[in-house]
């Protein structure tokens, strides 16, 4: 059977796609998977997530972490959060949402010259505690805030 023009194009697209995915997945496995902790991002329970992230650490409750987040979020898909702190030697800053399908949202690693300031927008599946863990020096500090999510704007 004669090779039609359409078939030829389809085939070349398929080959191109194959090579594109082959090279990108190779790249991915070396760079991303080495650093990106897939199993921690799969955890659904807060305790398990904290355990996997920090081991058996004790968290110190503190007011030296300021978390600016709306108390009532009208749209759980976009919840702005600003974290600042007057703790010294901050190394990492972790955002967790207790009732999200995956508890861990993001972990930031800050260099010495970087201020204790991170602003982001997070998703929240429903009303939940938002937990921020800051590692400063040898200690782990924790700040918790409750955010009410009212999708549809009628309260809940």
């Amino acid at each position: 059977m004669l090779e039609t023009r359409r078939n030829f194009i389809l085939k070349s697209v398929k080959y191109a796609a194959f090579f594109a995915t082959a090279t990108s997945s190779l790249f991915n496995s070396i760079l991303a998977q080495a650093a990106w902790p897939a199993n921690i991002f799969k955890q659904t329970q807060l305790d398990d997530t904290l355990n996997q992230l920090f081991g058996n650490q004790k968290f110190i409750k503190t007011d030296k972490i300021q978390v600016k987040i709306p108390r009532i979020a009208e749209n759980g898909a976009v919840v702005p959060i600003i974290i600042t702190s007057n703790l010294e030697n901050i190394e990492t800053l972790t955002i967790l949402v207790e009732k999200n399908p995956a508890t861990l949202v993001a972990q930031f690693t800050l260099a010495d010259e970087t201020e204790a300031y991170v602003s982001a927008r997070i998703k929240m599946a429903k009303t939940s505690n938002v937990i921020v863990i800051v590692k400063a020096g040898e200690n782990y500090y924790r700040k918790r805030k409750m955010v009410k999510v009212t999708i549809g704007g009628c309260g809940g």
Partner: protein, 102 residues
């Protein structure tokens, strides 16, 4: 067109970096109009550099909102310095953008 927009603002000692990235941040749990699952597609890593030194990096899941916005502040930035922001997602795609401080 880069997916990364960077805005910087110089305060006395501190430079603020704000970035907006065009990315779907799909969790893999959403369905399209036909009821098929939309495959997960989200940024996993973000790196912010000041003159090739990493000043902030992040690992994240799909819990970050669509078209992510981040802001950081750091000390020691001056006019002519280079800020570089790059990301990489779970499908192996990536992007990178430079911005020279004014």
């Amino acid at each position: 067109m880069s997916s990364i927009k960077i805005r910087t603002k110089q305060f006395e000692e501190i430079t603020q970096i704000r970035t907006l990235i065009a990315h779907p941040m799909e969790t893999g749990r959403n369905k399209d109009e036909q009821g098929n699952l939309i495959p997960a597609h989200f940024i996993q890593e973000l790196t912010v550099k000041h003159n090739d030194k990493v000043i902030a990096s992040s690992v994240m899941g799909a819990g970050i909102s669509k078209n992510p916005y981040f802001a950081f502040k750091f000390k020691g930035g001056k006019a002519g310095d280079k800020i570089n922001i790059s990301w990489q997602d779970n499908l192996g795609q990536s992007d990178s953008q430079d911005k020279i401080l004014k």
